[in-house]
């Protein structure tokens, strides 16, 4: 549809983005299990992940999730290419930091970092558990796939800990702008409401960013 292509694409990005925001909340809450004492955490975490894998509802959600990530990335790419075409020549001198945040100007870069992270993250977990690539996954005492062990061993590798922690930083920044921006894209224009959303976005980004960033460390030192 040629008409209102901008709006269409932006709506997809905003919609998928918000969906991913919700997913992150669920994901983070589940990950909090990891900070519990190993004895409790292993069982809880493994049973939780098994329930997830076996629920039809969650399977649908999972496909939505893949679709969201793909759409978010593809449309962001399309928009970025088009936006670049709209400004073919850059300024010799541009003090854009005086009128906007660095984050808002670099969502594409931040997004690429996150994408990079997702690829690694999927290789670490999804590829092993779902696709059965790499070393086989063991079973725990209750007979569940021992996903906890995968996590645990990964987060005892200092390089991965650093990688996961550092990558939470672009995530936080990306979310801070993206969360606010999505509401405006979707036509929410109540002034007071937008101020509240801006506050929520800040807290949300802080919690998600710090949450995901700190868990590997806690596991490492546990």
């Amino acid at each position: 549809m040629a008409i209102n292509q901008h709006f269409f694409r932006k709506t997809i990005i905003a919609g998928s983005g918000l969906f991913l925001c919700v997913f992150l909340v669920v994901h983070l809450s589940a990950n909090l299990i990891l900070v519990l004492p190993a004895a409790i955490a292993r069982g809880l975490y493994n049973s939780y992940s098994t329930v997830l894998r076996e629920s039809l509802f969650i399977q649908i959600i999972a496909y939505l999730l893949y679709a969201s990530i793909l759409l978010h990335v593809i449309y962001a790419l399309l928009i970025t290419l088009k936006n670049r075409k709209a400004k073919p020549q850059k300024y010799a001198l541009n003090h854009y930091k005086q009128n906007s945040t660095w984050t808002s100007q670099n969502m594409g870069f931040l997004g690429t970092m996150i994408l990079l992270f997702i690829v690694v993250h999927l290789a670490n977990f999804w590829a092993r558990i779902k696709l059965g690539l790499g070393a086989p996954v063991g079973l725990d005492a209750a007979g569940y796939q021992d996903v906890y062990e995968i996590t645990n061993s990964l987060f005892h590798n200092i390089y991965f800990v650093c990688f996961y922690t550092l990558m939470a930083i672009p995530l936080g920044f990306h979310l801070h702008h993206g969360f606010k921006s999505a509401f405006k894209t979707l036509g929410f224009y109540h002034k007071k409401g937008l101020r509240i959303i801006a506050n929520v976005a800040l807290w949300y980004a802080l919690i998600i960013g710090i949450g995901f960033g700190i868990i590997p460390f806690i596991v490492y030192f546990k």
């Binding site: 928009i79 400004k87 300024y91 010799a92 001198l93 906007s100 702008h177 405006k184 036509g187 224009y189």
Partner: protein, 247 residues
């Protein structure tokens, strides 16, 4: 007062341009930046060189013609002013001041600092009017408009069409300009009957002109001389949805 100007010189749209350096000594700090350029142009004439082409008209911040990019900011280092309202007292003796034209694919450079902003006119043409003929109006007080509605419409209507929003936007988005006009007309009872058509046609034209899309960096509302809020863009988006559903 001395200023070292680095000014974009480009003879025509087809030719390559470049920044050229001009040192001007005898300036005073109460000169506006445009007056400083006037002065530099007089010096250039006497040196038998072509003058720097730059735009201006009212020189009181309302016509919107004088947009240029000064030291990395649309309309210079301050928020929410026009170029003509920028004075040399904002700079220090000996400063280097870089002046470039608005950069956007939809605003091609005509010469030096002058760009073609007719894309804005075409967006207006696509639907920024109320289709009533002269002579057909009802009595002015026949339709009551609440003060808040009228005030909000005026906030949006204040746009001077300078193009700073497009110039400063990393995507060269014209969303602030377009949304301001849409919200002005669509929020008034007179504009209501064409509201859906207007929002679709104006936003389509905006895209057809090759402006980028809004990613809410917020730079536009900081550079807008009329302080037009970025919330207008959100409101425009809501109007697009409404138009798609009910239009």
């Amino acid at each position: 007062m001395k200023i070292i100007f680095k000014i974009w010189r480009q003879d025509s749209p087809a030719e390559e341009g470049m920044l050229k350096t001009y040192e001007v000594d005898d300036l005073t700090e109460d000169m506006s930046i445009l007056e400083a350029l006037d002065h530099l142009n007089e010096l250039l004439v006497l040196r038998d060189e072509k003058v720097i082409a730059f735009e201006y008209d009212c020189r009181e911040g309302i016509c919107g013609q004088c947009g240029i990019f000064i030291n990395g900011r649309a309309h210079g280092p301050h928020d929410q002013i026009t170029t003509c309202q920028l004075h040399l007292r904002s700079f220090n003796d000996g400063d280097t001041v870089v002046i470039e034209p608005w950069r956007a694919a939809s605003f091609p450079v005509l010469k030096d600092l002058i760009v073609d902003r007719s894309a804005f006119d075409r967006i207006i043409e696509s639907g920024a009017y109320i289709s009533s003929k002269t002579g057909s109006a009802p009595e002015a007080n026949a339709i009551l408009i609440a003060k808040e509605v009228s005030d909000t419409a005026m906030d949006a209507a204040a746009c001077i069409g300078c193009g700073a929003c497009v110039a400063t936007c990393k995507n060269s988005s014209a969303a602030l300009f377009t949304s301001a006009k849409i919200n002005h007309l669509n929020s008034l009872p007179q504009g209501e009957s064409e509201a859906h058509k207007r929002v679709i046609e104006m936003t389509s034209q905006m895209e057809a002109e090759g402006f980028g899309s809004c990613t809410f960096t917020g730079a536009c509302e900081v550079e807008c001389p009329e302080s037009i809020s970025i919330v207008n863009i959100a409101e425009m988006n809501a109007r697009i949805i409404k138009a798609k559903i009910f239009g």
